[in-house]
Symmetry: D3
Subunit: 318 residues, 6 copies
Amino acid sequence: MAHFQTYKLFGGSANPALAKAIAEYLNMPLVDCTIKKFTDGEVFVQGHENVRGADVFVLQPTCPPVNDNLMELLITIDGLKRASAERITAVVPYYGYARQEKKDAPREPITARLVADLIEVAGAHRVITMDLHAGAIQGFFNIPIDHMTSLGMFCDYLKQTDLTDCIVVAPDTGRAKAAEKMASLLELPMAVIHKHRPRQQEVEVTHIAGDLRGKRPLVFEDIVSTGKTLGYGVDAMLAAGALPDIRIAVTHALFTSDAIQRLDRPEISQIIITDTVPLPPDKQIDRITTLSVAPLMAEAIRRVHEGESLSELFSLVR
Amino acid sequence: MAHFQTYKLFGGSANPALAKAIAEYLNMPLVDCTIKKFTDGEVFVQGHENVRGADVFVLQPTCPPVNDNLMELLITIDGLKRASAERITAVVPYYGYARQEKKDAPREPITARLVADLIEVAGAHRVITMDLHAGAIQGFFNIPIDHMTSLGMFCDYLKQTDLTDCIVVAPDTGRAKAAEKMASLLELPMAVIHKHRPRQQEVEVTHIAGDLRGKRPLVFEDIVSTGKTLGYGVDAMLAAGALPDIRIAVTHALFTSDAIQRLDRPEISQIIITDTVPLPPDKQIDRITTLSVAPLMAEAIRRVHEGESLSELFSLVR
Amino acid sequence: MAHFQTYKLFGGSANPALAKAIAEYLNMPLVDCTIKKFTDGEVFVQGHENVRGADVFVLQPTCPPVNDNLMELLITIDGLKRASAERITAVVPYYGYARQEKKDAPREPITARLVADLIEVAGAHRVITMDLHAGAIQGFFNIPIDHMTSLGMFCDYLKQTDLTDCIVVAPDTGRAKAAEKMASLLELPMAVIHKHRPRQQEVEVTHIAGDLRGKRPLVFEDIVSTGKTLGYGVDAMLAAGALPDIRIAVTHALFTSDAIQRLDRPEISQIIITDTVPLPPDKQIDRITTLSVAPLMAEAIRRVHEGESLSELFSLVR
Amino acid sequence: MAHFQTYKLFGGSANPALAKAIAEYLNMPLVDCTIKKFTDGEVFVQGHENVRGADVFVLQPTCPPVNDNLMELLITIDGLKRASAERITAVVPYYGYARQEKKDAPREPITARLVADLIEVAGAHRVITMDLHAGAIQGFFNIPIDHMTSLGMFCDYLKQTDLTDCIVVAPDTGRAKAAEKMASLLELPMAVIHKHRPRQQEVEVTHIAGDLRGKRPLVFEDIVSTGKTLGYGVDAMLAAGALPDIRIAVTHALFTSDAIQRLDRPEISQIIITDTVPLPPDKQIDRITTLSVAPLMAEAIRRVHEGESLSELFSLVR
Amino acid sequence: MAHFQTYKLFGGSANPALAKAIAEYLNMPLVDCTIKKFTDGEVFVQGHENVRGADVFVLQPTCPPVNDNLMELLITIDGLKRASAERITAVVPYYGYARQEKKDAPREPITARLVADLIEVAGAHRVITMDLHAGAIQGFFNIPIDHMTSLGMFCDYLKQTDLTDCIVVAPDTGRAKAAEKMASLLELPMAVIHKHRPRQQEVEVTHIAGDLRGKRPLVFEDIVSTGKTLGYGVDAMLAAGALPDIRIAVTHALFTSDAIQRLDRPEISQIIITDTVPLPPDKQIDRITTLSVAPLMAEAIRRVHEGESLSELFSLVR
Amino acid sequence: MAHFQTYKLFGGSANPALAKAIAEYLNMPLVDCTIKKFTDGEVFVQGHENVRGADVFVLQPTCPPVNDNLMELLITIDGLKRASAERITAVVPYYGYARQEKKDAPREPITARLVADLIEVAGAHRVITMDLHAGAIQGFFNIPIDHMTSLGMFCDYLKQTDLTDCIVVAPDTGRAKAAEKMASLLELPMAVIHKHRPRQQEVEVTHIAGDLRGKRPLVFEDIVSTGKTLGYGVDAMLAAGALPDIRIAVTHALFTSDAIQRLDRPEISQIIITDTVPLPPDKQIDRITTLSVAPLMAEAIRRVHEGESLSELFSLVR
């Protein structure tokens, strides 16, 4: 947009590889800055370029270590605000704490809202994010938020593979709507994994609504941490007669704890993830295929800056 | 709580019968007030009792006419604030605009968040509501919100009926989680209705994940307006082999347009609703059984006022 | 102003004819959008054009049905805000609820302030309005407000008519200041209608300060709803010796209920109104002359967009 | 109200005599505090009593020197807020800058709104004031405001005098409504002074709507500064045939500049004022009768503290 | 204060020993709660006791790991707010990020202000803290803050020791004011360590203003992280002729990195610290004496709850 | 910056000479405006040029009469906001009330924060100021603040003089850091004046840390009001053996009361001040040398408007 002096991309320390990829796509350098952590854990951020009047984008997914990454984001925004940046956009491909988006029991916090307030109070003018755990998190913000989705990317990729006998399986009832969208786009049937805790029993039992016999499941999950739930789901699908050729698509692959050990099993033929969150080399097993969100995020940034519509970036889906 | 001069219940014009029932349960009169609508449609509200220092509860579901009821609520709150009420609680058993809780397409509003902001800016200190269309709407508020549920009421009622061969059916994928809860509480299997729009075709096709053959469906829906979607669901269930003995539980029975005509069919053996929204006499067909939320709402009001925990009011569910 | 991508005019559903007239004056199309009302009365608004970086003007007087029109305005603003419009101006030629601008009795709301807060919290950056019932309503906003007046238009029109023996009559004491301005501009004498409720009597008595004998009254009123007060005023003027050649100028002609019946009498020779509020065809009696505010509002919009001064638009008056 | 530790009255430096009178009426001491002005004009306020949990009332009309008195009020509130007062009520019998309550010309401030924001941002929880220049100033606040009136006091006083041949005269069109109220309460006729600037002439001409011949005028004005306008009004009334027995009631008698010289003339038989603003001894001429607002303000404070209704304090009027 | 249902103490995970000590002093249990950290680092906090209407104190210094401890504090506050706690006080004996309280260079954040905003936006109503790095940080809050000091504790302790030939030494110019206070209380002389970077040289040189020959230095520092600066100070004091009998008082002993190694030297005869920050057992060397702030913090909490003055808790100092 | 219509400079009434000098440096006229003070002390400000879309700078130090100057600043900002200025920068070379920046005793206000809030709530978008009494005052604002310093100017001037045997002396411990900066820049030694109130004595005793024997002191003070403290400091320096050739640099020379008499003594060889605050002719004694901040402030204004970095304006210092 003509009225900004310029536009600039700040790459936080949470996902340097993605920052670099976006900067390359946009053919612009990352802002020269110092990000340091003192011995007491305090984070300090200082840019070395004038940002007065600039349209600044700060790339920082709030993946683990989530609190450090979040505070770094807030501190960066505060510094930019005080340095007179004209507009500050927090680009948060993975939005941590998204699963704390409602009170499921008394005296629980709604941390996903708290985080939205923190980002606003720090001084962000807008947010770009992707595949929020719940779409309503958009409403936690009063500033504009561009909510991208990886669904199109995953479907484009899957359509180039053999989809014979495939069925989309929602890994839990909360994901049934997402599964429906994928099933509709791929023109496949769907099933839903659900749970039930029988009276006087401690253990939850995993069931499936829908017929998996002789089918090759496609599971679409937004966030995978330890992979424990997904593991039970795989067992249940196999027990329900699914073929041992399960493919799992995951937007935000946190893969904490022993997630890799749990998912590195022969019945899972492929794990397709994105790079919203960095995956350390020792977790990059053969079974994993990574699709980069860099082109999508870069294009979103460019369009936001230029004032162009983002609609066509995800016109297929939603 | 000792520090309030007193507590008072304001009954708005949206659901006078429920207001009366709650007042009776609490054994207290409704506040004497004038609520009038001028010929130009402007609403005017004035209380005739001193409310200084009082803990005031305003009962006003924002059911149709939603804009009039919402504005009346906001105006009432403004008047109470300026009249020095110590604490104002908006008791909104049905929260209108809840289905506009996220952007599903570009340039859509998030009216459910807007409404939350309107209620806060008018001066409410807290909200009591029930069965929000999406739990995350709780996070649209920065003031405390007590989110009641009718699930327990419905299950208590259903448990006293014959549940043989019953199956809980989610009327769409967005309700799969609610269906899972009901199925778990009633120890029944479940199925999920989902939709699919085939390529180059205009009409959506309704499918079902799960086996309904020879089953008696129990459908749990939060809001029913025209009943059109529900009608298609009934057709699909019957086509999938369900017995023509379908029971439908609905928290917020708006039943607009020709909903009654659509639902008054022999395959639907019973429609169980609550009174969060008033149902005009001409819509109270035989098939409908109404469970009152008055005791639950009244008890919530009493506990909020007394500072007692509400947890046990819905300890079973959520 | 150079820094906006463009400027756009949204025509709400409250006064489509005025929106069209303004668009024509500005020689620009109205934004293509969907405004619908569901069967439950919920309003939904969605634009079909990119508004990122745009300077958007939303024309929506909050005339009857005031609550629906107001909510539509708020929802439109919310949608524009979330769609990243750069600046949103609410163009509200008639500002509903303006007569609730102060507490006249205990426990009354100040709805005119509430409405200002609602418009601000929804996300408007500025307001253009006309002939507010009380000038101080400007101070209810913290955002800039351009307060236009129809006084100049009315005087220009009246000056071209025969003003012999005319006298400006304030229809009540609250309008004395406006009458003084008109009298001063037209160089005419003035009188003031006032009321008095004698002790132990129920009925208010209407008096007049000033001498109407043999005079032709010109009454300038900002808002007329039912016309009841105006009717009593006409009776009083006639009783005080005024000629049966009364002309009435009304900015906001709501003409609710049986206003037309009350005003369609031979002693009222002319009713001059504006089109800030749409008048249905069946109320457009011969006695009524309509002056359009479209050129004035359009010019105000253009100047606000271009950053030009609005002073000369109303340099004569105020 | 039971939940405050106690209630306390802070007497600012603007009107110590009124503070003392209110404290005496309430039979409580003023809070021991230091109010000092440094040589550079900075104001410093520090209380010497614990105010934690207290319900504190700060008496400070913002009369001349208005900026010093206003800043002292704001600083006092800030100090009380940081000292953990539970509730802070600004008692501002005279609200300075009230005549800047709307934009009458381009680029004017609305200082009366600004002042409301300053009081709110400093930390006041509520306001008690009297005879605001425009009732709508109540709506400039989002905190509760108790708007007292001196009208009842003045009428009670006047009713004990000879009202034969009296007429209430509004000193300008902006005061016509107030005059109407007084005329109605005293069952007297009324007239309105208005102005007119003839074409190509520099000087405004003062006219009167209503018949003053042989009448004894009663003028009710809210604020008198230099008395210049009032002086012209007196001339006009006499010229219109009024008897040289004019009585003037003024709520806020600022009497700046040579106001006293202007008003100390034989045709003005009495000037009845209140003590919302202190009148220096050298201005207390014989013609002046002072009615004290102390009982009214004290009773308002007591009732606000006790949570009692204030309605009956001004049930007659408004 | 009578109007709270009760008062409760939440002990966060940052300093459990101090929480326990305060609870013991107050003779009340800590609130039963769950504080957990998921494998992805997200913090979750849930209380297991009803807090409606309660006056809740959350003890959580924001010491290392500062971001985790800060987020835990914010999440706890959010949960309490939503659980309808009547008043929430953040008890933060050590306020992390306090050294980022102003911009010393372009484009620096002011993180100490950011943190204040985060605490306010989360929902805290007040703060209790101790020995802020800069007193003006109090002004970063708009909520009341009780700023305790350890100076009295340290002086009381030191007065019981031999102060012959002692001199108070400010470890840098920023601490000169604190040193002056201690010197004044102990009636000792003082000196100030300052730095200087000579032209064209890289290394800063440490100087001392004041005469240390034959003196036993007492150094009073608020925060010690790595101890590097302090180490240079010790060298400079010895070089300036001070006796090798240096005592160091530190309020917030972070002692990160190899601080202990740096400070465990024979010329430092004693390190007196407080327990605002937990010191791991392996860092508790013999040279260290710990004074507990538990009685002071507990008494502050009690008085805040009871509405008593805190003045006398630190009347000696400041 | 391209996107502003234009930029404009408003010169308030506090320091017209400085405003004129800045305008000349920028080669632009001051905005034509009316600033008047009514007889009751109310301030009124109205611009006579269109400011829509403009980038407006308001020069107004809040020097004595501080409350009048501050209110004028706030009113000017309010008027500009309502007149649709695009960006409003308060240029406040001297920030009054800066010495009330923390609570030093119970129940004190933090007026420096209050003032920041007043400026923000009035509608300023940014602030330019100089030599704040405490750097942390920057953090009192949430809007960007450019904090200039006169240190470089003073050092440039001093370097051109004879610095033989000079020593920088901090006039109190709160100024030790500033003295350290000046000493470092001038490569001089330093000393610190401190105070001590011996037990059971009323009078404070002034001491000096550092050796002044045979030295020529350079004192750097930010604000001098009555000069009383400085006078004691001069006595103490002389008593400590300093040569009677003391030079004093003062950024904000308020010189109230009999400051001039106190400082006009032979041992003070020079007083170097700036023109942030106007000095009346009768106080401009020979001993005083004035350095103008006009070039620095003008350059800051220009760079803020152009979006250029301000870093190099004070790269040497801080």
